[in-house]
């Protein structure tokens, strides 16, 4: 039994999600190949060669793969699929874009957003914004899965190994779609999905100007910044800060929700955090029902006080 993992990367670096994906994959099969589809991605290949427990690093390195478009990447994966019993990727925008297309081209059903592996063909996943946990089994000959990063521990790299590379020279030009541009949010803070501490703000901040108050606290704590949908829609924060059913799913050691009411769609993205703190002026806000520590207070007063206290130490 062999698994193929689709590696998430930006042609320069291996994304952290891959280490979690690998942990999930190693619960299923002994043999794991990874595939890197990209262009001028030599540094990614070098990093991938240090991934523990893998057998082969497949590399499709060509200009037509630079932007990892779903159309030709899927076709490439489909051409390799018959060698594998599992094809897996992280359940983020890259994996979710590509693998369902692959599955359909192979006439296979797939299981998305897996949070637990029960057996070789049975998995757990959430439905209804995290309010129902389903156990799903599949008899498909190739099991196609996307894996929720926060549900699996991070595998450690093995610096002493250099796994062999297998170059794939199948070139699939893409005539259907062309890349135009990318606008990435610039930040020096930790990635949301990898951060140990997240400070997250909601509509309670009332303006983009006020939302900036969170930055100071985030800097003091070395935290990432998250946001509710309401805060994103109101333009307080960029869209990729959104935590929730339709945004990012996070599970940091500490999640501090400030001025967030706690709608189920928001809870879906953060309720597995180890410790949850909520600051809200409304004592009946639903966020308190999932919080370990709740402070009923005006957020602006509380923020100042927290910052001063941290400074004093």
């Amino acid at each position: 039994m062999t698994t193929l993992l689709l590696i998430e990367h930006d042609n320069k670096k291996l994304a952290l999600s891959n280490y979690h994906l690998l942990t999930a994959a190693s619960k299923l099969t002994e043999e794991i190949d990874v595939i890197i589809i990209g262009y001028q991605c030599e540094s990614v290949v070098k990093e991938a060669q240090k991934l523990p427990r893998i057998k082969k690093v497949l590399v499709a390195n060509a200009s037509c793969y630079e932007h990892q478009l779903a159309e030709n990447c899927s076709e490439l994966i489909v051409s390799l699929a018959k060698n594998y019993q599992y094809i897996m990727a992280s359940a983020n925008t890259t994996g979710k874009n590509c693998l369902p297309r692959v599955a359909a081209m192979l006439d296979l059903a797939m299981v998305s957003d897996v949070v637990n592996i029960i057996s070789s063909d049975t998995f757990e996943r959430y439905m209804y914004a995290g309010n129902a946990l389903a156990t799903v089994s599949t008899k498909e000959p190739i099991k196609i899965l996307t894996i929720r990063q926060t549900a699996f521990a991070k595998a450690a790299i093995d610096i002493n190994q250099t796994i062999p590379v297998d170059n794939i020279d199948i070139i699939i030009p893409d005539s259907l779609a062309t890349f135009v541009k990318q606008e990435l949010t610039k930040t020096t803070r930790p990635e949301l999905t990898a951060a140990k501490i997240i400070v997250s703000g909601g509509r309670g901040f009332k303006s983009a100007e006020n939302f900036k108050l969170l930055e100071k606290l985030a800097d003091q704590l070395g935290a990432a910044i998250g946001a509710s949908r309401a805060a994103v829609d109101a333009g307080f924060a960029p869209n990729d800060y959104q935590v929730g059913q339709t945004g990012k799913v996070v599970a940091p050691d500490l999640y501090i929700a400030i001025g967030i009411s706690g709608a189920i769609q928001h809870l879906a993205g953060m309720k597995d955090s180890k410790v949850i703190v909520a600051i809200n002026q409304d004592p009946d806000a639903p966020i308190f029902a999932v919080s370990d520590y709740g402070l009923v207070a005006d957020l602006f007063d509380a923020l100042v006080e927290i910052e001063n206290n941290i400074k004093d130490k």
Binding site: K96, A103, G130, V180, Q182, K196, L254
Partner: protein, 251 residues
């Protein structure tokens, strides 16, 4: 001018606090408020705007499921959709089956654009649009937050992990909507009245000659444990003290 197909799924309304059935067979949907999947409302809205801009000539809505899905299609017609197709079935329709049905409809209707929601908020699969694009061998613009449609192409801005990505897709193409694409309109009373006169076609899924048998088995559905015995603290100082003394996360 082009025809646009939009897909609309009937789901438990997003404000409903769902209950998992005691026998673990699924979620109780009897007597709960049902609505059009919010992402599909966004799909409908986008198609209507393209019609209002003179880019599209006709907007057709499709839903798959039990006869009650007529209600969802009526909502789409009330928003301004021209025509509705219900593909009737009592099978549990998984994303692959939905994609096969939408492909069959697309081959009959020849739309230039098919707009779906990025995910159905009941099963949260996030697969159908990508599957449909794969089956049709059309380009896909998933998680779209902006669309600019031309005669032969569509420029889509997508919400991706670290920000935004813009792609140019040749038509025909498949789009899936993200929350920030637009704000859906409410149906007006005259539109609700007009909706009753609009063409409404019912197709039995069985007549499409597709393999729609479910491939996934739902072994059980449970309510995840949650709810913490959380405490309310009296002050910022108490909060920080407790974090320091009772958890390992705060140094």
């Amino acid at each position: 001018m082009m025809k646009i197909l939009v897909t609309v799924k009937r789901v438990v309304d997003y404000t409903v606090s769902i209950r998992v059935k005691d026998d673990q067979s699924g979620v109780d949907t009897a007597n709960v408020k049902m609505s059009m999947n919010p992402f599909d409302e966004i799909a409908v809205e986008e198609a209507l705007r393209l019609k209002e801009q003179g880019i599209a000539s006709e907007v057709v809505a499709v839903s798959i499921g039990l006869p009650v899905c007529q209600e969802t299609l009526r909502s789409a017609l009330s928003m301004g959709v021209d025509r509705a197709i219900l593909v009737e079935t009592d099978l549990n329709i998984e994303p692959l089956s939905a994609a096969k049905i939408f492909k069959a409809i697309a081959l009959q209707e020849s739309p230039q654009l098919i707009i779906l929601g990025k995910q159905a908020i009941d099963t949260d699969y996030n697969q159908t649009g990508q599957m449909l694009a794969g089956l049709l061998n059309w380009p896909q613009g998933t998680f779209a937050s902006k669309m600019v449609v031309d005669k032969n192409s569509v420029q889509v801005t997508r919400e991706i992990e670290g920000g935004l990505e813009t792609l140019l897709l040749q038509l025909p193409a498949v789009i899936t909507t993200d929350l920030r694409l637009n704000k859906p309109r409410y149906p007006s009373l005259p539109m609700i009245m007009q909706a009753k006169q609009k063409p409404f076609q019912v197709i039995q899924a069985a007549t499409l000659q597709l393999d729609l048998q479910p491939r996934l088995k739902i072994v059980k559905v449970v309510s995840p444990q949650r709810k913490r015995a959380g405490i309310k603290v009296g002050s910022v100082k108490e909060l920080l003290d407790r974090l320091k003394n009772e958890t390992q996360v705060w140094q």
